[in-house]
């Protein structure tokens, strides 16, 4: 090949390379996002987050079906102490946020209109055993990876609070310190009902609000 063309071609490659580097440095590099930097601490940058408790869209409703007076039912399919309709599942709550969260619970109303007592409408939280849920360990209070079962969590049935004018719901935790890592951020919520002997017939319904909040020191 003619030497002139070879040198010309080489010159073209070199100049093109330099110009490409130049434009990369000044115009492309400034648009790269998410450049973590590290000094003594380790800080990553990503937009978002905060606190976020959510209810699984599959396990988000409890329907006990037709129920009889003076009978007890619950949604704990894992440990069916009471009469549990086959279709009834517990609720699955997940911490979608980037920080641990406490969870409080409050029902809209007492659910019953007969001569009820507080223990006729109860709740407890449990390690999730639903299909596809997190593995929280083997012992709910001592060896539980998902939340603090030993204190501040209602791991046995407790009366479900509801506002009784002028008093609001009790300000106690249902779940203490639910973790936020994807593998251990879930908790089951079970409901137990006892139908008062004089409960009128008809459809019953209530709404239960599950509230996530930044963890509070448990005295």
């Amino acid at each position: 090949m003619n030497r002139e063309y070879v040198y010309g071609f080489l010159a073209l490659i070199i100049v093109t390379s330099i110009l490409t580097s130049f434009f990369t440095f000044f115009y492309i590099y400034p648009n790269i996002t998410g450049r973590p930097v590290q000094d003594t601490g380790n800080v990553q940058v990503n937009v978002v987050s905060g606190l976020g408790i959510a209810i699984d869209t599959v396990y988000n409703v409890i329907d006990f079906g037709n129920i009889a007076r003076d009978r007890t039912y619950d949604s704990d399919a894992n440990n069916p102490t009471y009469q549990t309709p086959a279709i009834t599942n517990p609720i699955l709550i997940r911490n979608e946020g980037s920080v641990a969260a406490d969870i409080t619970i409050c029902a809209e109303n007492a659910f019953w209109s007969g001569s009820y007592v507080a223990s006729d409408f109860q709740y407890k939280v449990d390690m999730p055993l639903l299909a596809g849920s997190d593995n929280c360990g083997t012992d709910i209070s001592l060896n539980n990876n998902c939340f603090t079962g030993s204190s501040g969590s209602a791991i046995t049935y407790a009366n479900l609070p509801f506002p009784t004018f002028p008093n609001p719901c009790s300000n106690v935790n249902a779940v203490n310190n639910l973790q936020n890592a994807d593998t251990n951020d879930e908790v089951e919520l079970d409901i137990k009902i006892h139908v008062p002997v004089d409960e009128p017939t008809g459809a019953k319904s209530t709404t239960i609000t599950i509230t996530g909040v930044d963890p509070v020191t448990i005295p």
């Binding site: 070199i14 100049v15 330099i18 007592v117 609070p161």
Partner: protein, 415 residues
């Protein structure tokens, strides 16, 4: 086929079981100092995760205030909106808690107000809905959180309410001694990154893990949130947390960079201001960038000069070699000059041969015109009378002159 169906069912179950309609609230906790008759504003961010159309009700909850503080603060708080709406194109919506403190707050300590958002309930016998709250910690004097008495509802009988009060002791855990010393953020031109540095001192003698967020505000509106994940502070040391804000989508103007650092049930805030300046191409280059630019430019010019030099060197007429024959005193020696014409052009050249002795005295000179045709190699032959020459070392300089250019070659010979 049945396997295809099975896979489809498993896939559908997998999708359903992992799908979560959720929203996040930020910051999880916010501290505000009580100031007599002061007006303050807290901007709360709701994150649409995953993006979908949503309607949320916002609320203020006073249940975690002590009854005395609740009475004193009953008119102090309001929200700018009772509902917020997401579309499936939006990641964030914001609402504001407006604070109008009264003249006095009698209880010393930290009061725990909750501000949150709640979604709609599902249909069902026992239906559920999720809410998420920000703890607004109103500090009045010290950081011991005042916890109200527990009102335990023990059930009713057709509307007859029975309530009992349980006094819960105050928390005994002390606040950690962490100082957020300062925050700095550089003024930048639009499109550049502003380095943000937060200096935090851990005064404890053990490691403390912190998290936090950085709110970027313009005219009290949150424009961006930068999350600070868990970071370990070594004992008795100042730690620099470094991050940056990319201003490529930012408007020109002054911004407030506010950081909230959270640690073990406590938090501290620090803020600074910075400017995003208009990008002017003539002045955008900082001195450092200009230096790099000049260096690159110099490199390009240098490379071009080298290339041109190399190209020029090989162009024209090249003297390939100078050979001698019969090189003895008092005889006729032969000088043979081999050349190559690289150009596509014929030349009439003047060949100038100068012979010097070792002391650079000219001992002989030959000059002649020659014709050299284009793109050719050839030889020029000359006779050289070596009368009166002695044995020794001589230098033969050959110059071919053509078109105001010249090519030269020098050799040494021994007679």
């Amino acid at each position: 086929m049945k396997y295809v169906k099975l896979i489809f069912y498993i896939f559908t179950f997998f999708l359903l079981s992992n799908y979560m309609s959720a929203f996040l609230i930020s910051p999880p906790k916010y501290e505000v100092d009580f100031e007599s008759n002061a007006q303050k504003k807290v901007i709360i961010t709701l994150v649409n995760k995953p993006r979908e159309d949503k309607e949320l009700d916002t609320y203020i909850k006073y249940e975690f205030l002590h009854p005395i503080a609740k009475e004193e603060l009953k008119n102090a708080f309001s929200l700018n909106s009772s509902k917020v709406y997401f579309t499936n194109q939006e990641d964030y919506v914001y609402f504001e808690l407006l604070i109008n403190f009264p003249e006095n707050l009698s209880m010393v300590g930290t009061h725990d107000l909750r501000v949150g958002a709640v979604e709609s309930a599902q249909e069902g016998q026992v239906a559920f809905r999720a809410a998420n709250e920000v703890r607004i910690l109103i500090e009045n004097g010290n950081d011991t959180i005042i916890i109200p008495p527990i009102i335990e509802n023990v059930g009713g009988n057709g509307g007859t309410n029975k309530a009992k009060e349980t006094i819960r002791p105050l928390p005994t855990t002390r606040a950690l001694n962490i100082d957020v010393l300062n925050i700095s953020a550089k003024d930048v031109y639009q499109g550049e990154k502003s380095d943000i540095i937060i200096k935090i001192k851990n005064n404890e003698d053990f490691n403390v893990d912190i998290t936090g967020i950085i709110n970027v505000l313009k005219a009290n509106t949150v424009k961006e949130i930068i999350n600070i994940p868990s970071t370990r502070l070594e004992p008795a040391k100042i730690t620099d947390l470094k991050t940056f804000w990319d201003t490529k989508l930012a408007e020109i103007g002054e911004y407030t960079i506010g950081a909230t650092i959270n640690y073990q049930g406590d938090s501290k805030n620090v803020a600074t201001t910075m400017r995003v300046k208009e990008k002017n191409f003539l002045i955008i280059f900082s001195f450092r960038n200009m230096l790099i630019f000049l260096l690159i430019l110099a490199l390009i010019i240098l490379l071009l000069l080298i290339i041109l030099f190399l190209l020029n060197k090989k162009k024209g007429i090249e003297i390939l070699s100078i050979e001698t024959k019969n090189l003895l005193p008092n005889t006729i020696a032969e000088l043979i000059i081999r050349y190559k014409n690289h150009d596509n052009q014929d030349y009439t050249v003047y060949v100038e041969i100068t012979i010097n002795d070792i002391s650079m005295n000219v001992v002989d000179k030959i000059g002649t015109d020659e014709e050299i045709i284009s793109k050719s190699e050839g030889r020029l032959e000359y006779n050289w009378e070596t009368n009166n020459l002695n044995f020794g070392i001589y230098r033969i300089q050959t110059i071919i002159n053509y078109n105001n250019r010249k090519t030269e070659k020098i050799i040494e010979i021994k007679i």
